[in-house]
């Protein structure tokens, strides 16, 4: 009985948590260009990247040897990912009215280019580009990163 009750309690807690969680993910950006083989990995699920797809915080973008992908985020930031490459949108918060701004991109593999948007303009310290060996801070600029060999 006790077990049943605790299971029921757990289910209730889960059900209550769903609406809150469902509101959380807001669209961070969109896939604007795709060439060749390219996928988005979201919560462990891999799906082909298509032009027009929405992008969310924590998404990985990964390309094959002939693939490349261009993304535009809600704050006008642009990211393009070259062949055999992987970039993760670690953090994206864009609510200028509340002063809630954050962008973190992790360059996992290959070549990619970042072109700054409004977050970099409004709060330069809120932008963080991470490579396996360093962190790049930007001041309104375009930065290209290569990780590993092509």
């Amino acid at each position: 009985m006790r077990i049943l009750r605790s299971v029921a309690g757990g289910v209730c807690a889960l059900l209550m948590a769903i609406p809150a969680a469902a509101q959380q993910p807001s669209v961070a950006g969109r896939v604007k260009t795709v060439t060749g083989e390219a996928v988005i990995v979201r919560a462990g699920i891999t799906m082909p990247a298509k032009v027009g797809h929405e992008l969310f915080e924590s998404d990985h973008v990964r390309t094959g040897s002939d693939g490349r992908v261009g993304l535009t985020l809600q704050d006008d930031t642009r990211v393009s990912v070259g062949p055999k490459s992987e970039v993760r949108l670690e953090t994206f918060r864009y609510a200028p009215a509340e002063g809630n701004l954050a962008l973190a991109l992790r360059f996992v593999q290959g070549a990619a280019v970042y072109v700054s948007g409004k977050i970099a303009k409004l709060a330069p310290d809120a932008v963080r580009l991470e490579t396996p060996s360093a962190i790049v801070g930007v001041r309104g600029t375009t930065v290209a990163v290569q990780v590993g060999e092509q």
């Binding site: 969109r30 896939v31 604007k32 260009t33 060439t35 032009v51 027009g52 990964r62 390309t63 094959g64 040897s65 490349r68 992908v69 261009g70 993304l71 535009t72 006008d76 642009r78 393009s80 990912v81 070259g82 062949p83 055999k84 490459s85 992987e86 360059f107 996992v108 593999q109 290959g110 070549a111 990619a112 280019v113 072109v115 700054s116 948007g117 490579t131 396996p132 060996s133 360093a134 962190i135 790049v136 801070g137 930007v138 001041r139 309104g140 600029t141 375009t142 930065v143 290209a144 990163v145 290569q146 990780v147 590993g148 060999e149 092509q150």
Partner: protein, 248 residues
């Protein structure tokens, strides 16, 4: 330098004799040395690569975490639209360098400070980043349309600008449009939020009539809270009666 690489060399030799544990990481390490274009290291790297190539398994085409030993490359480029060159600070626990000139670059490996910046040639940037740069989406464009007093009717001048907005929107394969309505400070703040929203919706209607799906146009209103020209309350100011449009 010879000190740094003596350990990998002996390690690589050990790997070469053991089929069980192929030296893929050292092949990659050797490839990175080639990139460094330093004569002695290039020879050493080539020796390791050819010596061990037969034992190395085919590399998986999937991107994965890079093997240690290959330094990351960070390059400052100019903004493809404005041509402006900003600044980037590359840091890790071992050190920090500033990049502030076009094509200035640093290489940084695990456990080592970022290298002193060098300026890469245009060709080198194109070789490494050409495909990525080709895939860059068009930059966002911003427009401001102005409205008549207390109205969601466009001024005559802005009516002419609508065509340009439409052209920009239609030139993009998957356009996103954000229309944010604003008002001057005449009238109640709450009513002005509504007026701003009517103005933003008027812009949305124009775009949807032109063929855009309504989902592709987000509307919002900031009422009188974000004037282009700051004024006291209850001030007529045509420049504040506007919808700011972002096309991306």
């Amino acid at each position: 330098m010879s000190q740094v690489f003596s350990a990998p060399r002996s390690g690589a030799k050990r790997h070469c004799t053991s089929e069980a544990e192929p030296p893929a990481s050292w092949v990659r390490g050797a490839a990175s040395l080639v990139l460094l274009r330093r004569g002695c290291l290039l020879l050493l790297g080539a020796a390791i690569a050819t010596g061990c190539a037969s034992a190395a398994p085919p590399r998986t085409p999937q991107a994965g975490p890079p093997k240690s030993g290959t330094p990351d490359l960070v390059v400052l480029l100019r903004d493809p639209g404005t041509g402006a060159v900003g600044r980037a600070v590359v840091s890790n626990p071992q050190g920090q360098v500033n990049l502030q000139a076009m094509r200035e670059a640093t290489r940084v490996g695990a456990g080592a400070a970022p290298s002193q910046p060098v300026v890469l040639s245009e060709r080198e940037v194109e070789r490494v980043f050409g495909p990525a740069l080709d895939g860059l989406p068009a930059a966002a464009r911003h427009f401001t349309l102005y409205f008549k007093f207390e109205s969601e009717q466009l001024t005559d001048e802005s009516r002419r600008l609508v065509q340009e907005v439409l052209q920009e929107v239609m030139s993009r394969p998957v356009p996103d449009v954000i229309a944010v309505g604003h008002t001057d400070t005449t009238g109640q703040a709450r009513a002005n939020v509504q007026l701003g929203l009517r103005r933003a919706n008027a812009v949305r209607t124009i775009l949807v009539m032109a063929g855009l799906t309504s989902a592709a146009v987000q509307v919002a209103s900031h009422g009188e809270a974000e004037p282009l020209v700051p004024t006291a309350d209850n001030v007529f100011e045509p420049r504040n009666r506007r919808v700011e449009i972002t096309v991306r």
